[in-house]
Amino acid sequence: MTTVATDRPAEMNCAVNHGMRFPKGVVVPVLLIALAEAAFRLAGFRSDSIAPPSVVAVDLYRGLLDGQILEATRTTLVAAFSGLLIGGLLGLTMGVLRATFRRLDQLLEVTTETIRPIPSIAILPVAILIFGFGYSLEISLVSLSCIFTTFILTRAAVLGVDRRMLEVGLVLRLNLWDRMRKLILPAAFPRIFVAFRWATSLSLIVAVTTEIAANPIGLGSAMMMAQQSLNPGLTVAYLVWIGFVGWLLNFLLIKVQRRYFARFSTSALDEK
């Protein structure tokens, strides 16, 4: 017999190495922050439009402590995730169906290709007329943007399933539903998860944009209020926090991906 090939995911080894090494990537941002702080202090610079990092840090700390940042975060995430859920499920269904049934794909192609290029945020004025302000406005815009991202990537993922896998299903005489459930979707799942990750970051972008542009709720709106009350420290604190939330979401999803999809064909996992 030949030897057993142990096919450990490569990232496991990388993770170990990363833990041992000095994080070089942190040097530049830390240095820049220190420089900015030094510039403010040495020059005695005062401004209504820019705040030194120390002020931003204090405002962020206060905002977190009194709960206003967390409350706004909850609102934004509820809207973003609801939209992600609705849009993601619709996009997933549409992607799977259109990859499976060629006729349907052809039938809907012109319609979707016409709507798809419209930036979902451009629909905001129309959406305000329909939904007014509040959750429903934001959720509808987020879902719209997520539908197409999820749809396109899911369709590609399902079409990308190896022909051999489909033949295994045919030869074993699995019915269409079982082929879908047991072969095609699991085989496409790592790529579909990548679609989900993209849609998640998009949902946060669209939610915050909607809030900044019009909707008086959530993080975007709170940031605008801080800006309008000429509080640069808090404005930038919100910006830093939004960045952190986005980073955290992506970090968690990559963790999930590595933890659960290492078994799936590794070539389907991108490390973005």
Binding site: M165, R173, A187
Partner: protein, 282 residues
């Protein structure tokens, strides 16, 4: 029935005529299990196979050889019901083949793509049982039995990526056996394996075929493998693919990797096929 390419030397033809069809020495009148009459396959406007007449007896091991592009795999896929015959008729156990059948299993060459990487060895075999609606309670015993049979008894909880190439192919064979097939269609199943593993698997396949009373249609481009395994070897000629030669392998069973391969008849049969392939590739 013997068919030969017109280019075949006359002495070979005489020799072939003299060798009787020995499918199973113990079985005086083997019944036909697979019948192809006048089968042509056209795909995308191109004729891949033309006018194939072929009967395969119950329990026979038939090997198919031929250069690339002679339609070996297409012939297998037609019998499997994966591609339709554009002319002629294919029947298995007397019934026309229109779609894949439960009693016909296919072993693909690329086991890496045919196995489900997210399922353990156990669950990969289970897939076939789920497909043919075997009651849940009976599955465990069947699966462990099959994994033992192909020598993967201790590996039931491993994922395909944790198994070597040879073990993955054994696993695919186990999954095919779970279908309880009477016909095993094998498409260059050992082509990607190293020589030692290939020989192990050849012998195991013969053992499984003998105990399971199975009919095997075995596509390979390895002439020695074809002669070693087969009761009969057909060679396909190209453009379009058709049966160019039929060689009966009158070698005793059980076969042995050393003595069979040194046998004069073995070498002679291999030579006939070699000459045929040489001739068709000119």
């Amino acid at each position: 029935m013997l068919k030969q390419a017109p280019t075949q030397p006359v002495k070979d033809r005489e020799m072939l005529m003299s060798s009787a069809v020995k499918v199973k020495p113990t079985d005086p009148a083997p019944k036909k299990l697979i019948e192809l009459s006048g089968v042509s396959v056209t795909l995308g406007g191109r004729t891949i196979l033309t006018d194939v007449d072929l009967d395969i007896a119950d329990g026979e091991i038939l090997c198919v050889v031929g250069g690339s592009g002679t339609g070996k795999t297409t012939l297998l896929r037609a019998i499997a019901g994966l591609v339709p015959a554009s002319k002629g008729a294919i029947a298995v156990a007397g019934e026309p083949v229109r779609a894949p059948r439960q009693d016909v299993a296919v072993v693909f060459q690329d086991y890496g793509k045919a196995l489900l990487p997210w399922r353990t060895a156990y669950a990969n075999v289970a897939l076939a049982l789920e497909a043919n609606k075997t009651p849940r309670k009976e599955r465990k015993e069947i699966i462990h039995g099959l994994l033992d049979k192909v020598g993967l008894g201790g590996h039931s909880e491993k994922y395909p990526s944790e198994l070597s190439g040879g073990m993955q192919q054994r696993l695919q064979i186990a999954r095919c056996l779970a279908q309880r097939p009477s016909v095993l269609l094998m498409d260059e199943p050992f082509g990607a394996l190293d020589a030692m593993t290939r020989q192990d698997l050849q012998d195991e396949m013969l053992r499984i075929a003998a105990t399971g009373d199975m009919t095997i249609f075995f596509v390979t481009h390895d002439l020695e493998e074809a002669v070693y395994l087969g009761d009969r070897v057909i060679g396909l000629a190209p453009d379009p693919g058709r049966i160019g030669i039929t060689v009966d392998v009158d070698l005793p069973r059980p076969r042995n990797q050393l003595t069979t391969r040194e046998d004069g008849t073995f070498l002679q049969r291999r030579r006939e096929l070699f000459d045929f392939i040489q001739e068709t590739e000119k």
